[in-house]
């Protein structure tokens, strides 16, 4: 056996011993007892950079458990431009999942980020099944999402996997409504109960949910005892380190972004009772990697599409202010709001050359992964926001779109007043309500009175900018744009 294989074997044995240490007093496993071992991840969010280390762990465990099942609880997508802006969006993480041979995957809300046709492409090119019991796409979309999947193990165990996805107060998953047209969603709690019959036809019934840990607990407590053996969870990015058993159902979740995976063992005894155990395994940044996966990841990261032109700037951008106005216009015009505002700290470059603008430029402008939020604010509430923001933004002005602003200062750090104008220079009606787009950082740190708590748009401001620039094509000069006056 070579050194790498020996290392992998020792690694695997260490994990197994860690799981079995709690069972040192239990009877020896008899032949009639049948086991299944599952490795679960969730919310990978396209963190392909950690995939080679994850692949090493999977490969090591398969030395000990050749029949190891590999499961994802959804949200494989969204969080990495190398994946999200790939010419066929979402395929890098999908191809890696194919390479490591996932068995089944729940549908997460971010699976819809590639839109209906993008998700269809991903499903059709995945070598594993996507499952969800409460997602009902129209047949014309061709989304092959199964309500459940049966896996018959070589040792004879018959396992049913099913899944439910979380719905928000609008009755849809957390995704832009445009991504969900022609798709119906049923209540996850009642739908889950419709599939409990699967336990009668299988040795084990496992839910792989994209629901949130607390919701999984609530669901588990509603199930009749003995019907469900395990809930593998996702969506809330909860790091479940210790065994959490509710109503005799083991509930797991492994954080997010491939920082962890959960090794789960289910043992069906002669009397059909099921012993359950789990171990959270960290996927360390310094861990051993599988070379073939690293080569693939390097290809994705070096892909030329990140440098491809998405728009053309007619003129140089030579200040944070000009770039900030462009970012504000992208928010306002693409999200169709009356006004948009960008915090000065959210603009990370003060220079963009005339000529080609590419995806990398956008992420250097806006690297934080902030998401867009829309508020309905009166003019007076907008003023209150500006007054609150001044100190937080280190006495720098907010970059607006759709309005002009005059700050009247007592000194560099003290505002006397802020006056607002329409784009054409008329006084802004302060009693009127306006739709205002901003990023989630601004939405959470500015402390001011406002009636509308705001609505997240489930799109990052960077992705919104890319979409805007692709549609715009030619970006006009911002050299003479003057929307803010400090007096």
């Amino acid at each position: 056996m070579n050194i790498k294989k020996t290392y992998r074997l020792f690694f695997s044995i260490a994990i197994i011993l860690a799981i079995f240490q709690t069972y040192s007093c239990k009877p020896k496993v008899e032949e009639e007892n049948k086991k299944v071992v599952i490795l679960a991840v969730n919310d990978m969010h396209a963190n392909i950079d950690n995939f080679p280390r994850f692949a090493f762990i999977v490969d090591s465990l398969r030395e000990i458990y050749p029949d190891l099942l590999l499961v994802s609880a959804g949200d494989n997508q969204s969080g990495n431009p190398a994946n999200d802006q790939y010419p066929q969006k979402g395929m890098p993480i999908t191809e890696l999942m194919n390479m490591i041979k996932f068995d089944v995957c729940a549908v997460g809300n971010h699976e819809f980020d590639t839109k209906q046709d993008g998700f269809k492409y991903i499903i059709d090119n995945s070598k594993f099944d996507y499952i969800s019991a409460n997602i009902k796409p129209s047949s014309n979309l061709g989304l092959n999402i199964k309500p459940f999947k049966t896996i018959k193990m070589p040792n004879g165990l018959k396992i049913a996997f099913t899944s439910v996805i979380s719905l928000n107060e609008n009755g849809i998953p957390d995704s832009h409504p445009n991504n969900l047209t022609d798709i119906k969603f049923t209540d996850p709690f009642s739908t889950a109960k419709d599939y409990l019959y699967l336990k009668d036809e299988h040795d084990l019934l496992i839910f792989v949910n994209h629901f949130g840990f607390e919701e999984d607990v609530e669901l588990a407590e509603q199930f009749p005892k003995g019907k469900v053996d395990l809930i593998i969870g996702g969506h809330s990015h909860t790091v479940v380190e210790k065994e959490q058993i509710f109503n005799d159902i083991l509930i797991t979740q492994a954080g997010n972004k491939l920082k962890y995976c959960t090794l789960i063992e289910l043992e069906v005894e002669k009397d059909y009772s099921v012993k359950k155990s789990m171990k959270l395994i960290p996927i360390n940044k310094n861990g051993e990697m599988l070379a073939e996966f690293q080569e693939k990841v390097d290809e994705y990261n070096d892909s030329p599409f990140l440098n491809e032109k998405i728009a053309e700037a007619e003129d140089d951008f030579t200040s944070y202010e000009q770039v900030g106005y462009l970012m504000g216009d992208a928010l306002r015009l693409n999200l169709n709001t009356d006004i948009a505002v960008v915090n000065p700290g959210g603009v990370r470059i003060d220079k963009l050359d005339k000529g080609d603008i590419n995806v990398r430029d956008v992420y250097s402008m806006d690297p934080f992964g902030n998401e867009a939020v829309i508020f309905n604010l009166t003019g007076n509430e907008i003023k209150a926001m500006y007054l609150s923001a001044f100190t937080i933004d280190e006495y720098l002005p907010i970059y607006p779109s759709g309005i002009k602003v005059k700050y009247i200062l007592k000194d560099k750090k003290t505002i006397k007043d802020v006056i607002f104008y329409t784009e054409s220079g008329e006084d802004l009606d302060m009693e009127k309500t306006y739709s205002v787009a901003m990023n989630n950082y601004m939405a959470s740190v500015y402390n001011y009175e406002h009636a509308d708590p705001g609505t997240g748009q489930f799109v990052t401001t960077a992705e919104n900018m890319i979409d805007y620039l692709k549609n715009l094509g030619t970006v006009p000069s911002y050299k003479n744009e003057k929307r803010v006056e400090l007096k």
């Binding site: 969010h45 979380s166 928000n168 107060e169 957390d174 949130g212 840990f213 607390e214 919701e215 607990v217 969506h235 809330s236 990015h237 909860t238 790091v239 479940v240 380190e241 959490q244 979740q253 954080g255 997010n256 972004k257 920082k259 992964g369 998401e371 939020v373 508020f375 937080i392 989630n440 950082y441 939405a443 959470s444 740190v445 500015y446 402390n447 708590p453 705001g454 609505t455 997240g456 748009q457 489930f458």
Partner: protein
């Protein structure tokens, strides 16, 4: 939506994440924070990653 942070009620925008709640909390109490020095847990004592999505009526416990 409504959430509880350290047993105090907050109203936050729908679609907010744990990090948004953390920012809102520290703004409210008037303190700066370093992200590496805080831990956020759910009511079961499980640690939450900062980019986890919040739900209505969720309770968070920020330890710092």
């Amino acid at each position: 939506m409504n959430i509880q942070i350290n047993n105090k009620s907050f109203q936050i925008f729908s679609g907010a994440k744990v990090i948004d709640a953390v920012r809102m909390y520290f703004t409210e109490i008037g303190k700066d924070f370093e992200i590496d020095k805080i831990v956020v847990e759910d009511k079961f004592g499980n640690r939450l990653e900062f980019d986890g999505r919040l739900r209505n009526n969720k309770s968070l416990f920020i330890k710092f």
